[in-house]
């Protein structure tokens, strides 16, 4: 009888868990669904809770793509995020490998320098980097939006941890076969580091795609806005047109969601390892 009692109790508890989990799933999803619904309503009807199905329209999407430079902002965001991601992959993975597997003078000191930098908030260098970019003539340019952001100390650290975990025997065997330092990295280590590269790609792309403060500062004319900056400016001027604002918001967020759903395992591993080891 005791066992039976525990069984029903457990079943009831499990149903409770599902109810709670589903309720929070709604909290998580409803704002997005509501925004999607709003983007399809005619401008005059955005504050109607429900509108007849046949009045739903995609005209707000046509409007933001046709009458406003959302397409340009989308391309800017994409170009910047791709360059920054590729650059980070090279810069951080190279550095992480060197710190893990190559001996050179000052290695320890330099590594601690990178670690120490991790603690400094980016906002500290807002003013100096702005001045540097002005002097280089990089304000309002792709160079300004990308080149200062190719290093992530956190990713250098994660890469180092990853390469430290690859067995030494593998390296020794390759060395006996006459593989040099470059070959070692490109032919032996790189093929083994797919999980590292995947996590890094996804986290860097996401961070840059959503980045706001720096592009706000660096992109100064409409044609050099990235999507978040463009959306903010559109929102400021046309916030009566909630359907168009929401269409723009979805243009910004849906691509990231698609990438996330496809690569969610790598996302989760990346966040967990950056969080737990960092």
């Amino acid at each position: 009888m005791a066992i039976h009692e525990r069984g029903t109790k457990w079943r009831r508890a499990r149903i409770g868990l599902y109810v709670v989990a589903t309720a929070y799933a709604l909290v998580s999803l409803l704002p997005f669904i509501w925004s999607l619904y709003t983007s399809l309503k005619p401008t005059s009807e955005v504050f109607q809770l429900l509108v007849p199905w046949h009045t739903l329209t995609v005209s707000s999407y046509a409007s933001i793509l046709h009458d406003f430079p959302f397409a340009r902002w989308f391309v800017n965001s994409l170009v910047v995020a791709v360059i920054v991601t590729v650059g980070n992959l090279v810069v951080n993975t190279f550095a992480g490998y060197a710190f893990a597997r190559l001996k050179f003078p000052l290695r320890g000191f330099l590594f601690y320098l990178f670690l120490g930098i991790m603690m400094i908030p980016g906002q500290v260098v807002l003013v100096p980097i702005y001045i540097i970019l002005v002097n280089l003539g990089w304000i309002n340019s792709y160079a300004g939006l990308t080149i200062p952001f190719l290093l992530s100390s956190t990713m250098v650290f994660l890469s180092r941890q990853f390469f430290l975990g690859i067995p030494k025997e593998l390296e020794e065997a390759a060395r006996i076969d006459g593989v040099g330092h470059w070959g070692m990295f490109f032919r032996i280590m790189l093929p083994l580091s797919k999980p590292l590269l995947a996590a890094q790609t996804i986290l860097t792309f996401q961070g840059n795609w959503n980045s706001f403060l720096w592009p706000l500062l660096i992109g100064q004319t409409t044609s050099m806005y990235t999507l978040p900056v463009g959306l903010n400016s559109f929102y400021g001027q046309y916030n009566a047109y909630w359907n168009s604002v929401m269409a723009g918001m979805l243009l910004l967020t849906v691509p990231m969601m698609i990438i996330f759903v496809i690569f969610q395992r790598q996302f989760v591993q990346g966040v967990a390892s950056a969080g737990l080891k960092g």
Binding site: A13, S35, A98, F99, P121, I129, F185, L276
Partner: protein, 307 residues
Amino acid sequence: MAVSVQPSRVWRYRWRRSDVDQALAGYLFILPALVELFVFLLGPIVYAFVVSFKHFSYLDPLDAHFIGLTNYIHLFQDPVFLRALWNTTVYALVVVPVQTALALFLAVVVNRIRGKTVFRVIYYLPSITSTVGVAVIFGFLFQPNGLLNRLLFLTLHIQGPDYFNSPVFALPAIMVVAIWTTAGQFMIIYLAALQDIPTELYEAAAIDGAQGWQTLLSVTVPMLKRTTFLVMVLGMIGAFQVFDLVYVISGNSSLPQQDTMTVVLDLFEKGFRTMQMGYASAMGFVLFAIILLLTLIQQLFLGREDS
């Protein structure tokens, strides 16, 4: 003995050459990172530190001159900065514990049921969403006649406020949005940590007669102490740097900016709207000091735990 000396000498000679090779390769591999580090981080930090002791405006660079600690002293007499510091502290002290508790709660719930992956994806969606996007979404939901107030009226017959334009509700509403955004991210960290708790512990607890809540409090929570600490510190560091959300929301609010002013927003305004760049740099270092303090507290506690 004599036999073993000879090969080791040859060995040593060979190693010297390859040591140089290796050092060269090492420097080549870290070169891009070093250039980035010196040009876009270390150099600027030193520059910012120097500028923080100067009166310096980008508009009038010739007028720049050292004023010692004046910027720092002035900061702590500046009502706008003090308000920003107060708002940010309150924000951090509310957001961090709530989002941590919510993240732990969600992780424990999701860990025990089927469809873990689906729930994990859904809960994490707000975290991958651009903060500007999130600000826009809630800008609409929190309208006086937006979805939240309509639902409140339909279910409880309460007339909700105009959240982001109310001096009382604006900051709390921003906190709610922040919690909604980050809870999923920390849930992921908790979920990963939950997998590391040995099942023997749960079995032992079950044998001792622990059930449901008891197991949670006597096994799960203590075993996750380290993770909780990490999540709190990461959350604190993030909270003190809050910018995007308040920038977009306060930029579209009729409230005086002070009501939702935060440290980084103030830094941005002083540095690039009124061009008081020395002053803004000093603010950056105060922020750095706060974050350093939080990190040191983390190191201190976790270090003690390890030893």
